[in-house]
Every structure is written in C-alpha cells, then in structure tokens.
C-alpha cells in the first residue's frame, strides 16, 4: 500500500529532478549568451526558414511563433511544433550551452569598461535579433514596431498611474496630441499634400529632422498635460480621474472638429520614417530616461507623494513640482509614442484615441505591474503578443483577454511584476553558477 503511494511520487520527483537539472544548466547563461543564442536562431530562420517550412508542409514561415497557425489550422500543429523545435529551441539551447563559459567571460570583460559600453553592446545585439526576426515578414515588422510603441506608452502611463498613484485616463489624449502634432509637422514641412500644398523644406532632410519633430510633438503633449496636472494640486484620486477623462474627450472632439486636419475622417500621407530602427532607438531612449528618473530621489518623490503626501511635503519635497514633472514627463513620452504611431500607421483618426485605446493602455499597465519598469515592458509585450496570437479566435479573443486580466487583478491586484526596480548592472553581469554548483543545488533539494 505504502509503495503504491510512494512510487508515483518518486517517479514524479525524478522527472522534477531531471527538469531542474536541465533548467539549472541554463541558469548560468548570461543575458549576453541568450542574445547570441537567439541571434543564432533567427539567423538560421533567415537562411533556411522558408525552405524548412515548406518541407514541413507549412505555406510560409510561422510569423508569430506559430500561435496563429496552430489556433487556425489544428492539423498543422505537429509541423509547426517541429519547426519551432528545430529553428528556435534546439539552436538556442545548443548555442547557449556551448557558449556558456565564453559568453560569461565576454560579459565579464565588457563590465570592465563603463557600464554604458556593456549596455550598448547588449542593446546592439538585441536590435540585431529583432531586425533579423522582423525581416521575415511585413506583419512581424509591424507587430514589432507597434509593440515597441506600446512599451513607451505603458511605461509613460505607469509614471502617473503607478509611480504617482493617480488614476489618469487622459493618456490616449496625450498620444493623440503627439500623433497629430508630429503628423502635421512632417506633412506640412516635407510632403506634397492636398491640404498643405507643397513641402516647405526639402523632403530629403526630413528623416534627419524627424527626431526634432517628435520632440516637439512630445512637448505639445506635455503642455496639454498641464491642464490635468494643475487640478491635481487640489484634488486627488477620483476627481482627477474624471478630469483626465474629460480631457481625453475634449482632445478627441477638438480634433474631430478641426477640419483642416481631416476632422473625423482622419489624417494621412505621413512619410514612412518610423521604421524599426527609429522606433527601437526611441524605445530604448524612453526606457533609459524613465529608468534613470524613477531611480533618482527626484523620481522617488513621486512615490513619496503617492504614499503619504503630507509627509512628503513636510520632508521638503515640493509636491506640486513633483506632480507637474510626473504628468508632463509621462505626457511627453505619450506624445512621442503617438508621433511614432502616426508614422507607423501613416494614417490617424480621432476614433483611434478613444475609450478603447484607454482600456488597452490601462490593461497593459495593470497587467504588467504598477511601479515597475520591467513590469511595463512585460505588460506591453505580453499584451501585444497575446492579442496577436489569439487573432484567429476573432471575437472570443476579447472575452479571453479581459478574463485573463480579471484573473490577474484577483490574484495580483497590482499586476504581475509590481514594485520592482530594474537593475541594469545586475542584469548584464556574468552568471557565476558553475556546473558543480548546479548539481549541488539539485541534489540538496
């Protein structure tokens, strides 16, 4: 009797043991190793992806890790899984394992210089990976760019809703301000257009001035944020939520009424300047500045105002200034995200920036986690991938995603990864875990 109970549990625990042993061997792989491994996989896909996909009976390379294919055509599941295994899992596994000691040494070597150098190398590798991955299809490229913009948007909303602890609903409004400001500037200055006539500047210098246009768009959004920030001196919480909501509606209907910008029909003809590298650079800049900000005493003042405003004030924190900075900084990045968005879609209309957009951004922030840079990245990427992956389910997608989010709210009311800082030095450092240590961990369990 006893044996029959213990047997399955021992067999289970050997499986668990094996899994731990297997997984534990990866714990010594530094971020650098993973990036190189994935780079190998996407390079492989570049070279042999479509040929291999055809061999497996797939019409083309599975664009989003096969989710869409598997949900839409169940009989292609085995082929897709084999594809994922051969193109992704095996190469990544082999390269990370084989190169473990080398990549660790390399990561350690990089850290001998300024941290920024190491960070730049990692970011460069990441860009290479994303670029190669997105190169396979336009759809991948578009999804990736929109996801990166979503990261900017989520991070910036987290500044207000997470770090400053207000429930702001005006974010799509800031985004709209940025989108229209950037679009109008680029079209007016650099594009032959029915409304604005011939370009005021030579179109070929446009791409170089595009960053300036985006910054201007961000600044316009930031000025708009004053309208929400100033009432926040007197009122907090609920009434601020309403004020920000009213602001969103005002911006939206203001644009609808500006016939010169196309009114509710929308505004198009934006030049195609928001390619992957542009969006990527802006996203990295956003993560960098926001991470810098929230780890400084200046940025932590937002937390102090949120947790106990009276005490913050009594401890010499200028609470009004803090709120203004928080709102304007968040709106600035929302404006830039809007500008990028407009130039990715090359068409915007006021309907894009309504309640649905608000629900989407709020969902990403609260799904990922409040008060956390990593959380926002996870939230934006997770939400976007999920949303694309579930596309074959059509309508039911909008039942499954909300249900998932409700579950997250029930079990982790402040999101998956909340209140966690992002330590770059820790992230990039080599992993010291040697093989013996891994074994030790496993046997001691």
């Amino acid at each position: 009797m006893e044996e029959s109970i213990t047997k399955p549990s021992t067999s289970r625990s050997t499986w668990v043991n094996r899994w731990q042993l297997f997984w534990g061997s990866f714990s010594g792989v530094p971020i650098l190793g993973w990036l190189i491994g994935i780079l190998g996989a996407v390079a492989l896909e570049q070279l042999f992806g479509s040929a291999f996909a055809q061999l497996l009976g797939l019409s083309k390379v599975p664009v989003l890790f096969g989710f869409v294919i598997m949900l839409g055509h169940p009989r292609l599941i085995p082929g897709t899984l084999i594809y994922l295994l051969v193109i992704y899992a095996l190469p990544i596994g082999i390269i990370t394992q084989v190169g473990k000691s080398l990549t660790n040494k390399l990561a350690g070597y990089l850290l001998k210089f300024h941290l920024g150098i190491s960070a730049l190398v990692h970011i460069g590798l990441l860009f290479l990976v994303l670029h190669l991955w997105a190169d396979i299809s336009d759809y991948r490229d578009l999804v990736l760019r929109l996801t990166l913009i979503a990261i900017i948007l989520t991070l910036s909303l987290n500044i207000v809703n997470g770090y400053l602890g207000e429930f702001s609903c005006s974010h799509p409004g800031f985004m709209a301000l940025g989108a229209y400001a950037a679009s109008v500037l680029t079209v007016l200055l650099f594009v032959e257009d029915k409304v604005f006539g011939s370009p005021l500047l030579a179109p070929n210098i446009g791409p170089f001035l595009f960053p300036i246009v985006l910054i201007l768009a961000g600044l316009i959004a930031a000025i708009g944020a004053l309208l929400v920030a100033i009432p926040s001196f007197r009122t907090r919480g609920d009434y601020l939520a309403i004020i920000s909501l009213a602001f969103l509606f005002i911006v939206k209907s203001l644009i609808e009424n500006l016939e010169i910008f196309g009114g509710s029909r929308g505004f198009m003809n934006q030049p195609n300047w928001a390619n992957l590298s542009t969006v990527f650079v802006w996203t990295m800049l956003c993560i960098w500045t926001i991470n810098n900000f929230v780890t400084s005493t200046m940025g932590k003042a937002l937390n102090a105002v949120r947790d106990e405003e009276t005490a913050a004030n009594a401890m010499s924190v200028n609470t009004r200034r803090t709120k203004i900075i928080g709102f304007m900084f968040a709106a600035f990045w929302a404006g830039i995200a809007g500008g990028l968005f407009a130039h990715v879609m090359r068409y915007v209309n006021p309907g894009t920036f309504g309640i649905q957009k608000l629900a989407e951004v709020l969902a990403m922030v609260y799904f990922g986690g409040l008060n956390s840079v990593v959380g926002s990245i996870v939230g934006a990427v997770g939400f976007n991938l999920l949303s694309e992956a579930l596309r074959p389910l059509e309508l039911y997608k909008w039942i499954i995603i909300p249900l998932l989010l409700i579950l997250v709210m029930l079990y982790r009311p402040s999101g998956l990864i909340s209140f966690r800082e992002f330590n770059i030095a820790n992230l990039l450092k080599p992993k010291s875990t040697s093989d013996e240590e891994v074994e030790h961990v496993v046997t001691s369990d």
Binding site: L254, E256, I399
Partner: protein
C-alpha cells in the same frame, strides 16, 4: 422662442437617459467607493433584455395565446427587464467586485472595464453582428402646442424617468435600507457595528442601479429603436462623467447633472453645431470640476474612512 421650447422638450428626454444611467454610477460610487466602469454596458444589457421581453410578449399576443393591451406589454417589459437586469448587476458585484473590495480601487476599476468588454463581446458573440430593432410598443402621436411638437413617447419617457427617480429618492430617504446606503456612503467601515450586513447593502445598491439602467435602456429603445452592443460605451461614459459631476453618491446631484448634460448637448447641437457637442459639453464639465472639485453635492472624503 418656440425653437427654444422645442429643444427644451428634446433636452428633457435626452437628459432622462443620462440621469437614469448616472444614478447607477453614483449609487455604486457613493456606497462602495467604486467606479463601476461596466455600468454603461448594463444599460446595454438592460435594453437587450427589454427587447427580448417585449418581443416575446408581442409574439405571444400575435399567436393569440396571451392577448395583452400594449400599455400592459410596456409596463410588464419595463418591470420584468428591471427585475432581470438587477440580477446581472448583483452577479457583477458578487463575482467581479466583492473579491476585490480590499484591493486597490484601481484594480476594481480595471476589472469593471474588462467586464464591460466581456459584456459587449459576449453580446456580439451570442447575437451576431446584426442590429436589432426595438419593437414599437406604443403608437406614436404628436401634439402641437403652439408650434412646439411633443410626442406621447417623449411624455412617457420623461414621466417614467421622473417617477423612477422620485421612487428611488423616497426609497433612499425613507427606508432603513436607504438609510444604510447613506450611512455606507459616509463611513462604511463602522456600518457593520450597527448590525447592518454590508454585503447585502452592496448587492442592493447594484441591483437598484442596474434596474434603473435597464429602465433607461428600454426608454432609449422606445425613442431610438436600433440597438447596438456598443451603446453602453457611447452613452454610459457620458453618464458616468455626469454622475461624478453631481457629487459623490448624491442622487439629486446625479439626476440634475444628467439633465444638465442633456440640456448642454441638445442646445449646443441646436444653436451652435452638433459636431461641437462633446467638445463644449466636456469643457463645461471640466470647468465646473476645476472650481467645484467635489461636484454639485459632493463632499470631500478623508482618512476618516479608514479604520
């Protein structure tokens, strides 16, 4: 002058919808300190329930198995739909909001937002993309009062709305249940010390709010017969802003603000431009809230609400 009066009549009808929906937001917000972002969709669900109830009753009449006069069909539709929709509201409270009562309030707001999306999508999934037309429950007659045209539908809509608001006001002011609701709005932590079961009061609040939203949905269906799964988003959010403008948990405030919003919208559309409707309406709201941050009848709440 006649055009002013004509628009006044229209505004009364338009304001009735906002006022009835706003009451539900306001009550839930007052009693439970919670933005029920799904309330607009309850309005939608109520309209659809009303559609099915009335269509069913009309079908029964047509078959001859249960011949009812049209006023009775209307009354039964309103009452039955209110009754059924109140269960939707109670379900929402029990499943969606009660588990989150001690969580940060933003989490509950997000949950409401998501429940709203589920209700909209669920409607589309169940009923498909085709638009349903609300059956004509009453024969339309138009009265001409010195150049001002008033239909019997408008009179009915305004009358029923005012009646429901009055009934709610009486309920909240006169009964012990209403008293408990007011007490919870003031300081819900110590309400259990009075021997009041707060979960029951929470359910009651949701039930009442949802019933009123259902009534609004049916009245809306009488005036504008085409139903749309997204009608909750279109009108609910505006009513929400009106509710807050009225002041936290204030029934009179919510009703007044609802009518005010109706008036602003109709008059802007009539005398300025219909495209500027939202812009002017929300600008006025923003102005009012800047100078009266707690709405018309609201009062600041404070740390007193904590234990």
């Amino acid at each position: 002058m006649t055009s002013f009066l004509q628009n006044l009549v229209n505004a009364m009808q338009w304001g009735s919808f906002y006022a009835l929906i706003a009451l539900g937001y306001s009550m839930v917000y007052g009693v439970l300190m919670l933005f029920n972002f799904a309330h607009g969709d309850i309005f939608m669900v109520g309209a659809y329930i009303g559609f099915f109830v009335s269509s069913g009753l009309i079908a029964l009449s047509a078959l001859g198995s249960l011949v009812l006069p049209s006023w009775l069909i209307l009354s039964i539709t309103i009452l039955l739909a209110m009754f059924l929709t109140s269960f939707v509201g109670m379900l929402l409270e029990r499943v969606g909001y009660r588990p989150l009562r001690s969580a940060p309030r933003a989490s509950a707001a997000i949950t409401g937002l998501m429940i709203g999306i589920i209700l909209e999508t669920g409607n589309l999934a169940l009923l498909g993309a085709q638009r349903y037309k609300f059956p004509a429950l009453i024969e339309s007659t138009t009265y001409n009062l010195g150049g001002v045209f008033i239909t019997n539908k408008k009179i009915l809509i305004v009358f029923v709305s005012l009646l429901l608001m009055f009934a709610l006001h009486q309920f909240v002011q006169r009964t012990k249940w209403g008293m408990a609701m007011r007490a919870m709005a003031y300081d819900y932590i110590v309400v259990p010390l009075m021997g009041v079961p707060i979960n029951t009061i929470a359910l009651l609040t949701f039930a009442l709010g949802s019933a009123l939203a259902a009534a609004a949905g049916i009245l809306f269906g009488i005036a504008y017969p085409v139903l749309d799964p997204y009608m909750g988003i279109l009108y609910g959010w505006k009513a929400f802003v009106a509710a807050i403008l009225g002041g936290r948990g204030s029934i009179i405030g919510a009703a007044l603000a609802g009518f005010l919003l109706g008036f602003i919208e109709i008059f802007v559309a009539a005398f300025i431009s219909s495209t500027l409707r939202d812009l002017i309406a929300y600008s006025i709201i923003l102005l009012i809230l800047t100078f009266r941050p707690h709405g018309f009848f609201g009062e600041a709440y404070s740390a007193r609400l904590r234990l």
